[in-house]
Symmetry: C2
DNA sequence: GTTATAATACTTGTATACAAGTATACTTGA
DNA sequence: TCAAGTATACTTGTATACAAGTATTATAAC
């Protein structure tokens, strides 16, 4: 009976399975469905007013993303702890560093142009306080970088990580637009630095901006995410 | 109507969906189903004598592994080119290097013991020319290392990669037992070196053994895999 | 012979049905 | 009050049915 957390316009052409997947993911990561909770196909199907087929599909996906665990009877919600959020950024750091090493040996003019465009979009999204659009462009920014080296398995890792990050960023950006509006200046600056690093191919600059970005985003994500969790439910810390 | 490529004893408790997934993966990676081929749920369901449900499940999994591409009508087989095999090893290198950095700061006595046990198992598998068992232990060896640092997202990457690697290693090892029996000495030596690197926490030794392992395995995998592909079908090189 | 339109045969996504298995609760016996 | 066994209500995995949509083929008009 809750409102939907996932941007409905991103689901315009999506199947029921995708809808359930995305919405369920948002509810888990936001803490609306608590970690440790047991969810069953039947109950979810009833909740979302769909049959078991799309729900089943969703659970398989979420299990591969490590935010639920499929068991014999019902799926157990794992969710994200602070530790796991840090781990996600470990992986991003790993991937994007690898990607940068490839970029150094490539012609990046096209990529830089593309990234500049996305950055402009991000600025517009800020101007109109569109958190969802901003999140979308932010993700697109990094995805564009990763895509540019044409490495299908790096892209695969990104794709496996993407949905969870999407949820995290969505929640974090929505909160920020209300509370910490000034943060966006810093985020934009960091992305500009990132583009510059790619353009000049300066390794040090890139690592710096990447870390800065993560320090910046990660800390805040944790804070906001924690507070969001505290808001949406009572404290529950005994899990794990 | 073909014989099954995937070890049937690994599927003793598996669902029909898992069976189809594993077998289909093997057929695609072995080249038995050519890349570029279009496969449909209905046809596969008929082939495997199951309903569309498990087949559908299998296709979703294989799509997330990047060896098929789901399209509007039918799925297109992508398979693995040499480039992609190299990419897989890029990822392994990335992960295992990361893991090693963590291991350096940890107590590894338990891990080393576990790895030694697995290595013994591998030797026994060689002695009895059990390619499938050897492959299993080989994968387990690396998975054990990765598991030891307790990093759920590194493990997630591994899990996403694992099935494809499993297929590759299975095919490669089976071929080797027939053609290049002496290779196994080198493989064992490399794993011993790996254990030593972990034990002594010597970064250089680890990188060395890792690269050696990959140079060793990768080159051979390519060769054998190519020849296997050539065997199992006519030459087809126009794709991508 | 070529083009446009209509019919057909396939495709996916979802709902539903059913079998086999597992936990819970309840009854029966002491 | 407690133990053991049975009944019941859940669970998953698979099969099947059906609707909506998409290619292909055949037909008809020119």
């Amino acid at each position: 009976m809750t409102d939907f957390l996932y941007p409905s316009k991103w689901l315009s052409k999506a199947s029921a399975g995708d809808r359930v997947t995305c919405e369920l993911r948002m509810r888990i990561i936001s803490g609306l469905i608590e970690s440790g909770a047991i969810i069953s196909e039947n109950k979810l199907a009833a909740d979302f007013a769909v049959s078991r087929s799309p729900v089943r599909e969703a659970l398989k996906v979420l299990a591969s993303e490590n935010i639920i665990r499929l068991e014999r009877m019902g799926a157990v919600v794992i969710g994200l702890t602070e530790k796991e959020i840090e781990e996600i950024y470990d992986v991003r750091l790993l991937i994007e560093t690898f990607v940068f090493e490839r970029l150094v040996k490539m012609d990046v003019t096209e990529l830089v142009k593309e990234l500049s465009k996305i950055l402009e979009m991000m600025k517009v999204a800020i101007k109109y306080q569109d958190a969802d659009e901003f999140s979308y462009q932010d993700l697109l920014f990094h995805e564009t970088i990763i895509r540019s080296i044409n490495h299908s398995y790096m892209l695969m890792i990104w794709n496996n990580l993407r949905p969870v990050m999407e949820s995290l960023i969505l929640l974090s950006m929505r909160a920020r637009f209300q509370e910490k509006y000034e943060d966006f200046d810093r985020i934009i600056k960091n992305h500009e630095l990132y583009i510059e690093a790619i353009q000049t191919k300066e390794r040090t600059l890139m690592v710096q901006s990447l870390h800065q970005n993560f320090d910046d985003v990660q800390g805040k994500v944790d804070d906001l995410w924690m507070s969001q969790q505290m808001l949406s439910k009572g404290v529950e810390k005994e899990n794990d």
